[in-house]
Symmetry: C2
Subunit: 394 residues, 2 copies
Amino acid sequence: MSWVPVPEGCGFTLDNLPYGVFQPRSGGPRVGVAIGEQVLDLAAMWAGTPLGADLGTGSLNRFLRRGPREWAYVRREVRRMLETDDRRRFCERNLHRIDEVALLLPVEVADYVDFYASEAHATNLGRIFRPDVAEPLLPNWKHLPVGYHGRAGTVVPSGTPVRRPSGQRGPGDFGPSLKLDIEAEVGFVVGAPSTLGEPVGTGAFAEHVFGVVLVNDWSARDLQRWEYQPLGPFLGKSFATSVSPWVVPLAALEHARVPVPGQTDPEPLPYLAEKEPWGLDLQLEVLLNGRTVSRPPFRDTYWSPAQMLAHLTVNGASLRTGDLYASGTVSGAGPDQRGSLIELSWNGAEPLRLADGSTRTFLEDGDTVTVRATAPGPDGGRIGFGEVTGTVSA
Amino acid sequence: MSWVPVPEGCGFTLDNLPYGVFQPRSGGPRVGVAIGEQVLDLAAMWAGTPLGADLGTGSLNRFLRRGPREWAYVRREVRRMLETDDRRRFCERNLHRIDEVALLLPVEVADYVDFYASEAHATNLGRIFRPDVAEPLLPNWKHLPVGYHGRAGTVVPSGTPVRRPSGQRGPGDFGPSLKLDIEAEVGFVVGAPSTLGEPVGTGAFAEHVFGVVLVNDWSARDLQRWEYQPLGPFLGKSFATSVSPWVVPLAALEHARVPVPGQTDPEPLPYLAEKEPWGLDLQLEVLLNGRTVSRPPFRDTYWSPAQMLAHLTVNGASLRTGDLYASGTVSGAGPDQRGSLIELSWNGAEPLRLADGSTRTFLEDGDTVTVRATAPGPDGGRIGFGEVTGTVSA
């Protein structure tokens, strides 16, 4: 137990200690750790040291670059500070109420990669777009984690308004997207870089990946549909990707580890094989204008986070501090477990009925979408990821 | 004429003055301008000023962020220094022979986008992969500049060895790529950023784009072929993209401007229309192991650089200093104007005969590929782009 009060149901416990970047009312941005409804200013805790300088900046990157040993050291120290009374007075002076600070983008994103790792999601899209074909998955899907690069420069912090993008909706048809959608995803933040030419095996996952964020990869389905052949999504995605302000460290997710399901037909190639289970049992929740519309289970994802990383680097591509890779839309088998509106409304054919009596196929101006998640922690507790939210503007 | 000797045929003239980042034998990296066979240390020329601090770093980014007025001011000043004797003594102390310094990556790349703007290239690939279809271009190709995001973290400076990537070549088939290829391209470096949500029209091109580099976007055709459905190229491209060390400023290319060809069926949508001709008459040359194998003409490219930029941002995607976008493979209509081996060897069906009697379909270990280019300058002179080169290792 921490001496900082953690309200019942709050996921920012002593077993979690997620990292973010915040700006208090006075002073510049700095790295902090959330506990209960407050954030501890880590730059202040290590003031006057090189580590303090790395923590007193507008992103986690300089801290992340220090690597796993330093991540473990800081986590241990922060836990001790918040658990024992040794430095309580000093800590109390450097705690801020989260609702009184600005939460910024936690990471300066280097490269952003988006995968397509949920079998239910890929199957649903196959059924929607190729209804006449018996096998909804494309031939490569179970052989490799399909992925592509997105735009790092338009990854924005939770709360950033999302302007409805304009573009080509078809031949000669230009205007605002009529099929603006969400994608509820889980993102992985790379902390320690790797060397060009040297693949990062599944076993080295925890040496490079620091932690986990929630991602909403806003998508304009009409723009995407017209543009994506043969080089993949571009403007249908690049206008905005929202991420949650808190990065939950892998170290907080030991109790959330689960084996990935299936993977027997075909067996993964050796470079994708895993000794340890590295799926994660995150329970996502998607809210539209404050009402829950879906509960996607990340544990059902076909490809594990370590497999995605191994695939991403098997050609020798190097990792940089700040690389972000996301799972792609998380969907489960049930109709109430789908992580996108194109699935929830079956591409508009089955409008979603909201609590206020209105219906939705895709997003309307003014709609607010929130994705949140929790995972199992020690002693039956829950690790909270906070939320990623955004409101559509015209 | 400059008092610095510029040998006959050297494209680094007083009308060019390209920017790069170099490291002399002693001292850190800094920004320089090439003239003849030498490079002028700009950090030294502005030592002790804020501009000098921005020029005394390992990339052009801080200088680029200053925007078009400052670019014009520095260009004017450098030209005066190299043209008149006013500061000759001081300049001479800060000139280095190019062959005695290390040339580094000129730009810290923010986002990297690759287009597909050459009609001849897209047509050739359509004929190779869809020989039974009458129309080789996909339906969207003449409506919009097709493009996608590549990996910014593996953009490497000219001269970096390129390790042959391994990956999935087909179902269950893992190993080194057997179809390693080149793509001779022209790249555009964004200097001044733009605001999220605000498209950059074709008329604002020169307010954001600083200059031009040569690009070799190495490609593993077998990996790409198996992975690219439905989200586009990923590992087939992300192992390495080489760029030339010198960025030729737009200001040096006034005489190289030409209208783009065609674009009547269909007419471009209003956001892609251009008042001024902004095609560029770059003559590329591709050399394999020192022998010319192709001369791709950039002036025949269907989509102009300003149209690519307008398309990239029409959905509101913002630009950052250091964004790099490339044209895609530059190919002309003639068989000796093709910018990739997949076209030159017609996907291996027509091996290329080299000067030493050997043949090539795709690249072999030890092969060195060089792309160079020139463009028209004032008074019948030629603006040189230098070269981008790389050797394949096993």
